[in-house]
Symmetry: C2
């Protein structure tokens, strides 16, 4: 079975990564249509030996398309995902628009692969910070249950797109050259700074990013009883999100047993040798696709309390790779 | 009462800040002796209108000294603090050597000022990440008690000294110029990276920095029953430590009441207007000496759960300023 594939938002950071991963993984496709906004139409993007010209997004873009990856943001998904589905395409959507819709499966292949087959045309790809979290939590959830989860994130600027990467690079250059630091993307300087603010603030004073992490984690684990809180922060890192995680299991969990299970878990790389200064680092995520877990330790004060440090590439496992893995599940 | 003051480690980042703060606050001194290692002796440092020559640290450096600030690291403190005390000086020590000694008060003037008068020659200055934490916690502790505390830190490179600041600046310059990124201070690249590793690892797989935060917080609050866990991480920020804090109070605490108390608390600046993107930022700590608190919100899942975001200048309130405030208490 070879598919006619479309990538919407093909010139963005996640779209480009999606094209790269389709090539890397030798995804069985018949044709690849690259779609973007009018301003990017006409550009070419390399795929295997071809140079593919980017087409402008139109209402008829999805004719004869079997599978469409949407990586162009919420507004585009809201308008064009239903159009693509009506044209007969299955959509893997990377925006947050459909994630909490009860009729739409929200899938991380290592965690809830069976959910993919419940789709009615749309499968949602979770938020980057959720994906790496649930991959690392799944073995714990299966071994001992999880009753409490407290997450603080350290999220890279590539999660905000190309302009944000350019903003960080420009600001550090301005700093080194003693020039005024200018900003366009973030509400404050991001170079040499930490912003506890990702996406918009909701009425409860949590950010939408924090609420995504809370709700999506419960949906993917299939357990609404887990008590979750989160603080998400943007850090001056280019690629790779880190998460400091504290959790309490329902039942006792032996740390050494957990490490053994991690060593055998697909999609997880255990990096936990503190005596040799080995622990997951954002820059390692440019090399490894697996979700990296380390700094695993029993809490000193609370029975069944465990601390973890989780890192993954937010553009690949946190977005494009997870979406391609969903597609691979679909065609199995 | 005008004192003969000595600053040991006067050419380091904290030592320089101490000299600056003594001048800024018009500290009542009769003489100021600046002391450093042999390699820095002979340099001059500006204090008010004077240029003071730095002297080499010797066994007889503390003759006629009334009060000595030690900011030269643990090894120097271990050897020379007892010598200074035997010479008749009172020592305010910024190293971790004496902090958990039962005979040595560990003081943050906004939190436990009375402890300062129990000294037997040495008063310990807490770790930077502990100071800002306990300043922000004290009003909560007084209003409702604290039973659980989970902290994840975002700590700037200036906490590791001058060479670390230079390392971050050099690495971003190497990155911008497409040159190989070199390192000397940290075990991994710090530019565009996050290291969940501050100070050395202990046998329990917590770092010494994490254990300092746990033990020092209990000692300063005077409550060993608070259950604390911490993950400390180094971030590519020059000055200012941030902390993502989750806590559970013993009794119910109204968030609006807490904010009112913060508004009136000495040493605290409430920065919590998320609808206008206002929250504490590391770069703000270069301007404000107060410990900044924001992102205050009730937990959505646990009764008496509260989230906070705390930022302060690690060189000033986190080190030099707190030490000078201790000295001001002493001479009151």
């Amino acid at each position: 079975m070879k598919l006619n594939i479309a990538v919407v938002g093909a010139t963005g950071v996640v779209g480009q990564e999606t094209v790269k991963i389709l090539a890397e993984r030798n995804f069985p496709l018949n044709s690849l249509k690259l779609i973007a906004s009018e301003s990017s139409a006409g550009k070419t993007i390399k795929f295997r030996d071809q140079e593919i010209e980017v087409e402008k997004l139109e209402r008829d873009s999805f004719e004869k398309i079997d599978l469409a990856f949407f990586c162009a943001g919420g507004d585009i998904s809201k308008k064009y995902v239903p159009i693509a589905v009506n044209s007969g395409a299955i959509v893997i959507d990377k925006s947050s628009v459909f994630r909490l819709d009860h009729t739409v499966p929200l899938v991380v292949p290592e965690v809830n692969p069976a959910d993919v087959y419940k789709h009615k045309g749309i499968i949602a790809n979770p938020n980057c910070s959720t994906i790496q979290l649930v991959v690392a939590l799944k073995p714990i959830f299966d071994l001992a249950g999880i009753k409490r989860l407290i997450v603080s994130t350290y999220q890279s600027v590539s999660g905000s797109g190309k302009l944000a990467v350019q903003e960080l690079e420009r600001q550090i250059s301005q700093y080194l050259n003693n020039r005024k630091i200018t900003r366009q993307v973030y509400p404050h300087q991001i170079a040499f700074n930490i912003l506890p603010h990702i996406d918009v603030f909701e009425d409860n004073n949590f950010t939408k990013e924090e609420m995504k992490l809370i709700h999506e984690t419960k949906k993917i684990l299939g357990d609404e009883s887990v008590k979750i809180t989160a603080t998400t922060a943007r850090v001056p890192v280019l690629i790779g999100h880190a998460e400091s995680v504290y959790l309490e299991t329902v039942n006792h969990l032996d740390i050494n047993k957990l490490k053994m299970v991690y060593l055998k878990s697909e999609g997880i790389k255990l990096v936990d040798d503190t005596s040799n200064s080995k622990y997951p680092l954002p820059i390692m995520s440019e090399v490894y696709d697996d979700v990296m877990v380390g700094r695993i330790r029993k809490d000193l004060a609370v029975v069944n309390g465990i601390n973890l440090w989780i890192v993954a590439n937010n553009l690949r496992k946190g977005a494009a790779l997870n979406a391609v893995q969903i597609a691979e599940l679909l065609i199995k």
